[in-house]
């Protein structure tokens, strides 16, 4: 291919949106999805997928912390001593999370109230640590940022998909901030009003998140055969 020969002849600076770098953005959405393929970040996928609203807040928070963490660690990659690198990564993540939390508490207390429970979950989110260790430590800040965005998005869409299933079947409605609950089914369908339908309370409990993630993995693998391991 002609483009390859050109880059081989003059090893110029790679553009931020070269084919290789774009793969950093798109790969985590499917082929190397952090939750369904790498099986990282499962803990928070179980804990906060009861409501779509919470999943959105968590995804945004993870996106922010991931970009910040990846870029900062990538900038420091040449001065971090190998033996304490995990601690350094943890300090970077934890500081970012605390600063975000403090700023929200001061300027947007209502969001902070919703987020407060999840702050601890962001610090321990294995995806963030995983990307810092696997990618940011060995790459320049630009690609590290793309990698962060890609992985945060891959995390976010699984979270949203699971939350959608769980909230619709568990609560029979989706609650939006400012709007309140939007119900899909007519009230008369519910058992309490003499109908035939009952919300599935099992959906609200954590095990159903695992089963929902399992179903997503099943669908993904039957669609994308390259993910199936040969043994």
């Amino acid at each position: 291919m002609s483009t390859e020969t050109i880059t081989a002849v003059e090893p110029k600076r790679e553009s931020l949106f070269s084919k290789k770098n774009r793969k950093l953005l798109t790969d985590p959405l499917d082929d190397s999805n952090p939750i369904t393929v790498q099986v990282l970040g499962i803990c928070s996928a179980l804990a906060i997928t009861v409501q779509v609203q919470q999943a959105v807040i968590m995804s945004l928070a993870v996106l922010f912390v991931m970009i910040g963490g990846n870029v900062i660690v990538s900038m420091m990659r040449n001065i971090i001593p190998d033996r304490i690198r995990i601690i350094v990564q943890l300090v970077v993540i934890a500081s970012l999370v605390i600063i975000v939390d403090e700023v929200l508490k001061a300027f947007s207390p209502d969001i902070s109230e919703k987020l407060s429970v999840f702050v601890g979950l962001i610090i321990t989110n294995c995806i963030i640590m995983g990307r810092l260790e696997a990618f940011a430590l060995g790459n320049k800040p630009g690609p590290a940022m793309l990698d962060a965005v890609g992985n945060a998005m891959g995390y976010a869409w699984i979270l949203l998909a699971v939350a959608l299933v769980r909230e619709v079947f568990g609560s029979g409605a989706i609650s939006f901030p400012g709007v309140g609950q939007v119900k899909f089914l007519p009230e008369s369908w519910f058992m309490a009003n003499g109908g035939f339908y009952e919300n599935n309370n099992l959906m609200i409990l954590p095990p159903m998140a695992l089963i929902t993630v399992g179903i997503i993995i099943w669908i993904q693998r039957s669609r994308n055969r390259s993910l199936i391991e040969e043994n």
Binding site: V50, Q51, P81, D82, S95, A106, P109, D110, N201
Partner: protein
């Protein structure tokens, strides 16, 4: 590279510098944002007190409304004796102001009740005196709290708001929803123990109890327990205090 980044000396130096730097950044952030955070928390408390007497309010316009409705802030000791009282604007620096008593902190502190003071907010809405009592307790996963407003007979519940930190969404977390809080209105605080109870979801209720949340039994019980325990202290004050004029 000019230095060996894996030598012991460098590792120690890096760790020390990192800790100092990060500590300084976090301390600075925390200190510079503290006044704003405190103001937000005070505002939220006023909103909750107004919420218990059924007055809607929103951030930014709370304080004036709070002044309109809350006539007096009283603190009492565990024997029901009046300790202190304030009227007029809330002074955030006055640690004796009953508004500034942190009941959540007191509850966690495990200090004996006799060492603590308990705040009571006397409100006036449409000519009727209302008494707002803050309650704190434990849910299934973490703290729960709220405000219960009593009518001028100091017995009938006028309204209640509850909130929680980490209860299960869809189950225990529902205590902050209207359908759970509405049935409190019109119920009574019993003069004899148990003063109040939240019964298992669907079980029959009496004058002194409300229906809990199905699947949120432990959180519901926590609400009942905190109202019961707190009212035991305030009842002593109510029984000795002169009945307010209607």
């Amino acid at each position: 590279m000019a230095f060996n980044k894996n030598s012991n000396g460098y590792t120690f130096l890096f760790a020390i510098l990192m800790v100092v730097l990060v500590g300084a950044i976090l301390a600075f952030t925390s200190l510079s944002l503290k006044p704003l955070q405190k103001a937000n928390a005070a505002e939220k408390k006023m909103m909750n007190i107004l919420g218990a007497i059924g007055v809607p309010s929103e951030r930014g316009a709370v304080e004036a409304k709070f002044m309109d409705f809350v006539k007096e802030r009283v603190s009492i000791d565990s024997d029901g004796r009046k300790v202190d009282s304030r009227t007029g604007a809330v002074d955030a620096t006055d640690s004796d102001d009953p508004f500034n008593i942190d009941v959540k902190k007191d509850y966690r502190s495990k200090a004996a009740a006799s060492e603590l003071n308990f705040p009571l907010f006397v409100c006036n809405k449409e000519g009727q005196d209302l008494y707002v009592v803050p309650v704190v307790g434990n849910g299934l996963w973490g703290p729960i709290w709220g405000f219960v407003a009593l009518e001028s007979d100091m017995e009938t519940i006028y309204g209640a708001v509850f909130n929680h930190k980490t209860e299960t969404p869809g189950l225990g977390a529902e205590i902050k929803e209207g359908f759970f809080q509405a049935p409190f209105k019109g119920k009574k605080i019993s003069k004899v123990s148990p003063h109040f109870a939240v019964v298992k979801g669907g079980a029959p209720t009496t004058e002194y109890s409300v229906d809990g949340i199905t699947g949120g039994t432990i959180t519901s019980k926590g609400v009942g327990e905190m109202v019961d325990r707190t009212m035991a202290i305030y009842l002593k004050y109510f029984q000795s205090a002169p009945k307010a004029q209607k």
